[in-house]
């Protein structure tokens, strides 16, 4: 039998212990009853070329557009089971999550496998292949905000890769802080001599690229829209310019930390205590003079970590100040061969090849370096007396200096310079120390505003050479976003996903949960509070779907309806059968692979659980939970990635939201007169597969203690 557009093929693999573990004819029976048009085939070694051939032939002969493969985890044999892109594929994970984790030949194992077959059939019935969202005339142009070395490098490298770039600088000329540099710490082998700033050659390279338009004296008025169609309004010396761009690189750089508040360093009290930034500006102009009276200086003392690495001031290390002071010490010695330099540090941090420069500076016997803490600075006999505690030499000593230079740290410029007209605010959300990033180890360019990537010292304190490297990466991500948007695909972490949230507005009550809870600020709002989705800002996590009390939001291949249908498909035995049922919402990213690994290792857990994988634990909607409870499920587990400061949630806030929504769920339980233990939220890490049996079985024991759900027989 066949009907155009509604033909489903079901293929059940009998290998990998499946046939030994369960009676596959039971699955065939279920499939044959459910599938009106199509076929159901049992096949050994389904992933082998002969098996693949069987599927392909059925797809062609039976004009199949939906294929269900009951075999191994969707994480396995992904390439083998990839067919014509017009065919929707659903996988039933029999190998890892049935054979691997449950007793063979057991009635309960069979019931589990049969329920999994029903759930997948229901999902296939209720989902569709996505049709991509592509903005009209998606722009390929890229805006780089900030014309310092990071912005210049990003623009140049983007243009070399063939993209049109607009580089915006608020000052009269590009170059940023590099305009003030006399020399910079060495960038290349042998890393022993300070070099001329890289700015001049970088600007030359910039000007060679025809595809870059540099707008100086220009500031952002506001930015609206979404990747592929950001609308940027700018003011160029008062004149308004508008531009549509596809993606944005934020390279607005840093500001020096103001050491006025660090009382023991006397920046406010003494004219001859200056910051390293101020000192740099006086370099290369002959001998150094005291700001107070213009007398030449002989003894200069550098204070490292002036405010940095200090919980009361700038808690982090600015990474570049050690190198800066070593370089400035050399300036002093070059200008006056009789000068003495003292550098007081906590640690000298010259990591990697920059150590070579540190070694070089140490060769100068008139540059004295010592670990120590500056306790105070007083003026005495026309000099500054710097009191130092806990040095390597003495526990307490005073050094007389003509000039004290404070090596001040770097603070990121506020990303609100972007002036985003987003519902969630004008800047990029930050994780720590005002640095706009999220998964900074594994996915360092990931920001929470899709299509906007931070580069250089606006994201972390970086040296000139590190900023330049960083800029290339941010530009690559911007280009990638432009190209993905043109294809109607999501960017990381669901790269390639063409589904996007669709809103059934008639039911929307303007409650604003979606606009507030989206971790990526994908929704704007009308004045009334009605959500205005921006699909190419969306990262497809489904958190908005989980937040919506009115079930307004759905994806073509993941919806309230599809999951509800899966829950409905599960057979819930009555209480006399003594077969409790626990529904598990399992995050696809870390928890699901952990369950797979448990299965591969043969770790066994209760066969009474029924697993529904979700894109993010934050995508779980309350309605599924209350549906399941009223159907008689005895317990509900939500298993997600680790929340907290060191969160591992790939969508940043999913796990955290699950915790806060938990209170709401308890209200639901109260209304239903059910015990609070009927819902449990757990977080596991991907390598904690060995903890899974205990995690599941302990909960099953608890559920058995509180007894069956009274809704079972209703």
């Amino acid at each position: 039998m066949s009907e155009e557009g509604k033909n489903t093929g079901v293929f059940i693999c009998t290998s990998c212990g499946i046939k030994d573990c369960i009676d596959t004819s039971g699955l065939v029976k279920i499939a044959e009853e459910a599938v009106r048009f199509g076929n159901c085939i049992e096949q050994a070694n389904l992933c082998h070329p002969e098996g693949i051939e069987v599927i392909k032939k059925s797809i062609t002969d039976g004009k199949l557009n939906k294929v269900l493969i009951a075999a191994c985890s969707p994480r396995a044999k992904t390439e083998e089971f990839r067919f014509n892109p017009d065919v929707q594929i659903e996988r039933v994970n029999l190998r890892e999550q049935v054979v691997g984790s449950h007793e063979p030949g057991d009635e309960d194992t069979q019931m589990l496998a049969e329920d999994m077959m029903r759930m997948s059939l229901a999902k296939l019935e209720n989902t569709h292949l996505p049709t991509p969202f592509i903005p009209d005339k998606a722009s390929e142009e890229i805006l780089v905000l900030g014309g310092g070395i990071s912005g210049i490098t990003a623009a140049t490298e983007g243009a070399r890769a063939g993209y049109k770039i607009t580089l915006v600088e608020r000052e009269e000329k590009a170059g940023g802080w590099l305009n003030d540099l006399y020399k910079q710490i060495p960038m290349q082998s042998p890393w022993t001599r300070p070099q001329d700033p890289i700015l001049a050659p970088a600007l030359e390279a910039l000007h060679q690229e025809k595809n870059i338009s540099l707008l100086t004296n220009t500031e952002i008025i506001d930015i609206s829209g979404q990747p592929g169609a950001f609308c940027v309004r700018m003011s160029r010396g008062g004149e308004e310019i508008s531009k549509t761009v596809g993606a944005i690189v934020l390279a607005t750089g840093w500001e020096p930390y103001d050491p006025s508040g660090v009382a023991n360093l006397g920046y406010k009290d003494h004219t001859d205590v200056i910051s390293s930034v101020e000192f740099e500006k006086t370099a290369g102009k002959g001998s150094f003079k005291r700001p107070s009276d213009g007398k030449p200086v002989k003894n200069v003392l550098f204070v490292q970590c002036a405010g940095s690495r200090d919980k009361d001031h700038l808690p982090y290390c600015s990474s570049v100040c050690c190198g800066t002071s070593l370089k400035q010490a050399q300036y002093v010695r070059e200008a006056n061969p009789d000068a003495n330099v003292f550098i007081i540090y906590k640690d000298i941090r010259m990591p990697g090849m920059s150590e070579n420069y540190y070694l070089e500076v140490q060769k100068d016997s008139r540059i004295f370096l010592t670990k120590g803490e500056v306790a105070g600075i007083i003026a005495e006999d026309d000099q500054l007396l710097v009191n130092i505690k806990d040095s390597l030499v003495y526990s307490d000593m005073d050094i007389a200096a003509d000039l004290v230079v404070l090596a001040v740290g770097m603070t990121p410029r506020n990303s609100e310079d972007l002036k985003l007209s987003y519902k969630q605010g004008p800047g990029l959300p930050t994780l720590k120390y005002d640095f706009p990033d999220s998964h900074f180890i594994c996915f360092p360019y990931e920001t929470r505003r899709t299509g906007i990537y931070a580069a250089g010292s606006v994201r972390a304190p970086l040296t000139v050479s590190d900023s330049m490297e960083d800029a290339g990466g941010a530009m690559l991500k911007a280009i990638q976003c432009v190209e993905a948007t043109k294809r109607g695909e999501a960017v990381h972490p669901r790269a390639g996903d063409q589904s996007y949230p669709e809103l059934y507005m008639q039911r929307c009550t303007d409650c604003k949960r979606c606009t507030e809870e989206c971790p990526f600020g994908a929704y704007d709002e009308t004045e009334k509070g009605t959500p205005l989705p921006n699909p190419s800002r969306c990262r497809r996590c489904g958190i908005c779907m989980g937040s919506c009390p009115e079930r307004v939001i759905s994806f073509k291949d993941f919806s309230i309806q599809s999951v509800s249908a899966m829950i409905k498909a599960i057979e819930v035995p009555d209480e006399f059968e003594e077969k409790p049922r626990v529904l598990v919402f399992l995050c696809e990213n870390d928890a699901y692979p952990a369950f797979d690994m448990a299965g591969m290792k043969g770790l066994k857990y209760s066969p009474f659980v029924r697993i529904i994988p979700v894109r993010c634990i934050g995508s779980v909607n309350k309605i599924w939970i209350s549906d399941a409870l009223s159907r008689g499920f005895d317990g509900i587990m939500q298993i997600g990635c680790k929340p907290g400061d060191d969160y591992q949630c790939h969508f940043i806030q999913g796990s955290e939201l699950t915790e806060t929504r938990g209170e709401n769920l308890q209200e639901t339980l109260q209304t239903m007169m059910l015990e609070p233990e009927r819902i449990r939220t757990e977080f596991i890490e991907i390598d904690e597969f060995d903890k899974i049996p205990a995690l599941i079985n302990d909960y099953m024991e608890e559920i058995e203690l509180i007894g069956p759900n009274p809704f079972k027989d209703m």
Binding site: A76, S318, K432, C442, P444, E469, L476, A495, N589
Partner: protein
Amino acid sequence: MEEKEQNSYQVFPGSKKILVVGGGISGMTTAIEAAEVGYEVVLVEKEEYLGGHAIEMNQYFPKLCPPYCGMEINFRRIKQNSRIKVLTGTQLKAVEGEEGNFEVNLITAPRFVNDKCTLCGDCTTVCPEERKNSFNQDMDFTKAIYLPHDLAFPALYTIDVDACRGESCNKCVEVCNYHAIDLKAKPIETSLEVGSVVYATGWKAYDANKLDSLLYGQHPDVITSLMMERLAAPNGPTAGMIQCPSDGRAPEKIAFVQCAGSRDHNHLAYCSGVCCSASMKQALNLAEVLPDAKISIHYIDLRVTGRNEAFLNRVEENKSIALLKGKVASILKDSDGGLKLMAEDVLSGKKKIYTADLVVLATGIIPSGIITDNFSVQSDYENPAELPAGMYLAGCAGKPLDISASLKQATGVALKAIASLKTADK
């Protein structure tokens, strides 16, 4: 193959491919990032699995999170992106040509196990031979046919040709229900036209045997950072139990020797950049696993830059961990069989003696380098090779970097590799 092309994602018409040599975290990053823009990439790795040293880590600093978490996402990105072709067991043999037009020759060693493998593991049950488990720093054994590690990608068994008895044994071939093993497999040579080449050949640990005074190789309880990483890992040789290799007892005093080979003119003059954070990470883990143990970190400078300061604070606040400034000059066997560390306490200026029953040498890192038939790349950070246009170094092939910095650098290299393809178009 035909199916894959039919299914292929849209690629830029007429564009050449990018070759990435090295499938560690940097090479994977360059490959994935370029492929997600829309370019075709061939990623070659000499081992039979991707992930390099990063996937050997128990945890990443400063979050103390498992590498599998990010790796899983990256493997998913590779699996679902048909623009990336992964060749494991493969090395670069020769490169000719110029930017935009390189002709490369690759050689793929036989894995002896094909895509039909279903990870059932029957082969390991019958295999009579063992090999040292290189994934666990040779601290335990696997069979000659083995799965490299739990999350191995590609998810296939592999055979160590040096350990396997070959066709005279044939037990694995006979037991395999899936016809997945072919002991007759031969190396395959492939030639390829690519537009740019990225070397992400990574790093190796400085040979601790060269550090004469530190007793490595002479006392089993002196181990390297990489060994500590595997000892601490739940999927390591001891399932995460920390044991002294000499007798299996839980150590009571553990000392980390920083700059073991780094910042030392007799060995590596430079700072390897990552060892301070690596030891702190391991120390925090030990403090949790062995709450009664006393842990010391002997350092010259604590080089934990940027945001990782909060991580250093966490170590400073931990009562089990002592941070001691002063380089360890030598390690001696104590009369009771334990270890004695001779160190200079810089703060007091005195020579000090510390005892320990497990010593971890935070060994520095050196580039793995690469030698092909017609040229070689970077075997020394101090004297970086000048690469011709269209060729790039990514990650620790170029300089010592931590995971996050490697990823940033490798992402930037993807852009340069793409620009090289455009050069050819002009």
